[in-house]
Symmetry: C2
Subunit: 688 residues, 2 copies
């Protein structure tokens, strides 16, 4: 039940009122929650007030509208301000605002995409800008839509290296559809920031990276408004507005005071009074499309519902209809708008024909991935590929040759690579990001946050394990499975041959969440038929007899060692089952439990540290059955490797065929046989 009317005072006064409403609401919701970061929010209230009332183009009723601007609070702890903004634009009500930080509320301590207006979760500082850069690249190169990306950063987070990876990417990509607003309140969690209010220091850094910079008083409404217009109109470079502000602005008890970070104001009622009381202004945000609807009639900031009662005492101020100055529209460089990303969603990938490798030939899984990815690009126009300057090694170079317009070189900046992937999937694209398995660890925080963002990104790590050989441990992914398994909702796939890799590359395209494909460097035998289907959560029983005394569970390169070990064991009269557990997460628990019951003994073998890899996945699956477990022997990399040939490495680490055979024979020799023998259960098939 909104009552809209014209404000009677000038624009500046009206925008100040909006800002004060935002501040009051920050104070109120933090007070009700008894936690939160109101002071870090209050410093940026004027910036956000001017942004939503005069510059943002966004239909809050249609958050997925393709022409909407994107607004990212990189300083996610300013969530009170974000939620106060949502109330100001009418997206949420006061009742929801007051459920801030409570059980089952969408208004979490830091914004997440549980709210439809939030593109990505923030709260780990220095990530919102890199992801915003990813969205801006999509806007410039893929969507070719005139939306603008607005990112609100804190000053403290500019210390993160990821900010400068983003600055380099944005500057070199001339992203003039990106405006970054830095709330330079000069105070961090524990005291002054490094540069306090020295916006010139930040400006010099951004300029060096090719940015257009503006330094303003972040509490001067007119300066802010002018800066936003100038920034948006500046062609050929991203803009950063460095706004000097005061933390806790407007409340003397906390304004620019240390010790007031991350806690409610000491006296909320007094603070609200000092801020002029509770307001109930609704801001009409210009819609993006069609363009004429963006023009807010001069002199209008329509109001929303009448003021309502709430838990914190309020001191309402009278609201006035005031004439606004005519709004300046942004000069957006003319581009041919492409179809929205969602319209380009492609045919189901099952129709796709992966590259074929002859059974019995030798091939590297990284080669298979590269070839498959290039072909996938033919049938899936939504697939985009990101490289960390190792495309020769990961083989994404093959995609680059076939589809240069959907290939993005991120250079040696893995955090920005992952952030770009996250940003592009916000726009409906299907990103694959590849580097050495080891170097995905550089972006682990981004991967962790991608899961909280409910992002769907595909990661590919090459040169996994000691089988990489001579390059030494710095280049060997030996913790990648552990790290990627411990990501919420992730999928972890470790193929052992080229046809399996090719198929799974296609499977990845339709997987939700964070998925990971692990490839290796050298060539291994092709053991599966071309075009054979592999499902997430599946496995392959490669050797099987009703008399099996032990099961060897392997993935990736160790599958081939396991097969050879089974031959060695057969020579000694021991019948060993071999399972290719290519899907490490989710692992094929049903098949594992069946084989545990049938063979009573399991040897797991992986080219990975012992912690958190295949062996632990197998143990966890067996434990989840609730029954007593079989004897399990875990073979893994237990000493620090150096340089050696790939096969020497496997031998040294005790994960080669001889070591597997020895471990299996010992297990058979020392343990009683299985308690029951039945046929192989469902969920697995006999491989070639």
């Amino acid at each position: 039940m909104s009552t809209s009317f014209l404000l009677e005072q000038d624009v500046t006064r009206a925008l100040h009122e909006v800002a004060q409403q935002l501040r009051v609401d920050c104070v109120r919701c933090s007070a009700v929650a008894s936690s939160g970061h109101p002071t870090s929010s209050m410093s940026a209230a004027d910036l956000v007030a001017v942004l939503i009332a005069r510059h943002l183009r966004y239909d809050f009723a249609e958050p997925k509208a393709p022409g909407n601007d994107h607004l990212i609070f990189s300083k996610g702890h300013a969530s009170p301000l974000y939620y106060a903004m949502l109330r100001a634009v009418g997206a949420i009500g006061e009742d929801e605002l007051f459920r801030y930080r409570t059980l089952r509320s969408r208004l979490e301590g830091h914004p997440t995409p549980r709210l439809p207006w939030v593109d990505v979760a923030t709260g780990s500082l220095g990530q919102g800008l890199p992801i915003g850069v990813g969205i801006a690249i999509a806007g410039q190169n893929l969507d070719r839509l005139p939306y603008r990306v607005w990112v609100l950063c804190g000053d403290g987070e500019l210390a993160e290296g990821s900010i400068w990876e983003a600055a380099e990417q944005a500057g070199c990509s001339h992203l003039d559809n990106l405006t970054v607003i830095v709330d330079v309140n000069g105070l961090g969690q524990r005291g002054p920031t490094r540069h306090r209010w020295d916006t010139a220091a930040y400006a010099a850094r951004f300029r060096a990276f090719g940015w257009h910079t503006l330094e303003i008083d972040g509490h001067d409404i007119e300066e802010i408004d002018r800066a936003f217009s100038v920034a948006a109109a500046h062609p050929g470079a991203p803009s950063v507005i460095l706004a000097r502000t005061r933390k806790g602005r407007g409340v003397a008890a906390v304004e620019d005071r240390e010790g007031a970070h991350g806690k409610p104001l000491p006296d909320a009622a007094a603070a609200i009074s000092e801020l002029g009381g509770v307001r109930d202004i609704r801001v009409a945000v210009a819609h993006p499309d069609p363009l004429p609807s963006r023009v807010v009639p001069p002199g209008q900031i329509p109001l929303a519902r009448p003021m309502s009662a709430h838990a914190v005492p309020l001191h309402a101020v009278p609201l006035h209809a005031v004439p606004l100055h005519p709004m300046t529209l942004h000069a957006v460089p003319a581009r041919i708008p492409a179809q929205p990303a969602q319209d380009r969603r492609a045919r189901p990938v099952t129709r796709w024909r992966p590259p074929a490798f002859a059974s019995g030939s030798m091939a590297s899984t990284r080669d298979a991935f590269g070839q498959a990815l290039a072909l996938l690009g033919d049938v899936r126009p939504d697939v985009v590929v990101l490289d960390g300057e190792v495309s020769d090694s990961t083989r994404t170079g093959l995609f680059a040759q076939a589809h240069p317009e959907r290939y993005f070189e991120c250079y040696i900046a893995e955090q920005q690579m992952i952030a770009t992937a996250v940003g592009m999937q916000v726009r409906g694209w299907v990103p694959f990001a590849a580097t050495f398995a080891a170097f995905l660890s550089r972006a682990y925080d981004f991967i962790r946050m991608a899961a909280i963002s409910r992002a769907s990104i595909r990661l590919v790590g090459s040169h996994a394990g000691v089988w990489t050989g001579e390059d030494g441990p710095s280049q060997m992914g030996l913790e990648d499975i552990a790290a990627l398994r411990a990501v919420y909702g992730s999928t972890v796939l470790c193929p052992c041959d080229a046809n399996q890799t090719a198929w799974l590359t296609g499977v990845l395209a339709d997987l939700p969440g964070v998925s990971y494909l692990r490839t290796f460097r050298g060539e291994a035998p092709v053991i599966y038929r071309p075009g054979e289907r592999f499902d997430v959560g599946g496995s392959r029983v490669l050797r099987w007899s009703p008399d099996d005394q032990v099961t060897i569970v392997a993935a990736g390169i160790t599958v081939h060692e396991a097969l050879a070990a089974a031959d060695l064991l057969a020579d000694d009269g021991i019948s060993a089952r071999v399972i290719d557990a290519y899907s490490v997460k989710p692992v094929d628990a049903a098949t594992l439990r069946t084989t545990a019951r049938e063979t009573g003994r399991i040897v797991t073998v992986e080219d990975h540290w012992p912690e958190g890899g295949l062996g632990d996945a197998v143990l966890a699956a067996l434990a989840a059955g609730g029954a007593p477990m079989p004897a399990v022997r875990k073979l893994a990399v237990r000493t620090m490797p150096g340089s050696a040939t790939p096969d020497e490495q496997l031998q040294l680490m005790g994960i080669d065929m001889a070591s597997i055979a020895t471990a299996a024979a010992e297990l058979v020799g020392t343990e009683a046989g299985p308690s029951a023998r039945t046929a192989v259960g469902s969920g697995a098939s006999i491989g070639s």
Copy 2:
């Protein structure tokens, strides 16, 4: 058997000869190894020749001498050049050089501290400079010795954000004891770098961060020599020398050619010929201390052993004794040299008295850590503390107040924080680095590499788990145990009460390798006596009876839930054992196996994702016993948390007392009892 004599030509010619020797040796060792990065090495040969012959102060016979300069190859793939340099200075012989990249050789694909002259492992780009900054901070603030830190970077790695975290730290710390040499060869792995030879672009960026910059021709011996002198003499700022070079310099077949990265030269014999053949010059490097020994007699580059035969055909050139220009000594700002770090190694920590918390009171483990750390600083003058701008939260602020001279604010730059820790431990200091557990993921690659560096660093992560409460998932470390367990040689400790935390804080000080202490935010009951001793690898059996039907294994906050669950179970007539597995890695396998045998059923409960945490550690320990395993039920965080109170979070995630009791009761109800009952084994004691 060296034969030294004066060179007859001018210095430039002599230094060029040294550079050509380095190039030839890069070609030779890569040819013998059939792998490696000779072209990335050859571009920097002139830089390194001038460095070792005229500027480095280093006693290769005493690599740990406290006055030695530090030389870090941040571009670790230029290992052929590093090893060629070692031969040139007489540190290794040709025989060892030719074992490059082979089994058991110290000369790995990328340098590691298996060589006594290597401070830290490199090979993950963008790490050598941040660590060098850490060493330079130690030189300036802790050691107060006039050594210089030299870092050789590639141009490609300047895209890494970690480089700019380091640039900011070094610039703001005015590290004029740091000289960075960037080998701008303009080619990456897959093609041109972003800026090719535009050294002005890099210079602008470094200048913006407060650096002194020099742009030179990296193949002009005299320009190089001058730049090194000017850089070292420049007061008040770190210097970066941006040297334009050509990859594969000196061999036309590969010089500045794409497709020649990371592989031996196509025709080594021809290349060596083109480079003027094999040489056998030994370079006398100036020693650091006492200063007079640094003065190389004018006109001398003494030679080493006579030329020897080797696998690759050689074309030796005649060597000449030449007069050198008088050497310019560096102007080193006068400082009071402190004792070398190793002399400050302190009394054994067992004499230390940790802070005491009254049993039965409530306390947070982060508070206990902060108080313990401050007291530890009193008795351990080698302890230094690094903060990621969250010292209020982690409680390292208490150390800052007590020992400001050994507290270093790294601001919100977790990669630089870990790199500083690694750099300081190179100098014998005992660093503790603390941030939120979640944000250690930001520096995971640095932690991974620290293990390869054989570095001893202590990491402390606060706000672990969903018990953090309202802040939401971005702030909750839920993958920290998985990530830290999967680090080679790491120790992972998860204390549950204040006295245990305080004791373990002291234990950390003497632990080798990467160690991790996980703390939580809220207050929990103090259950242990003040001063009670806890060992790495130990556990505490908190509830025990000979009739126990099930064991609950917990760590951290879940210990308290487990104790309450045992009470609930007792009410239902079920006798439950409770084990505090505070040492998650190494876990107390003996106690776990004993309890498995005795109770036959185990419930593990952790405030962490199910993958790679306490439950997996317990399963792995049980499996390692080789015997069939008991029924194990793993309770962990299995859905994405939002905001809620800490206790609501535990309940929602099914890791609270009621969930534990239910799981234990179900296990007892559905499973047969233990097969054998004996007394509790060694390795565990009954707690208070």
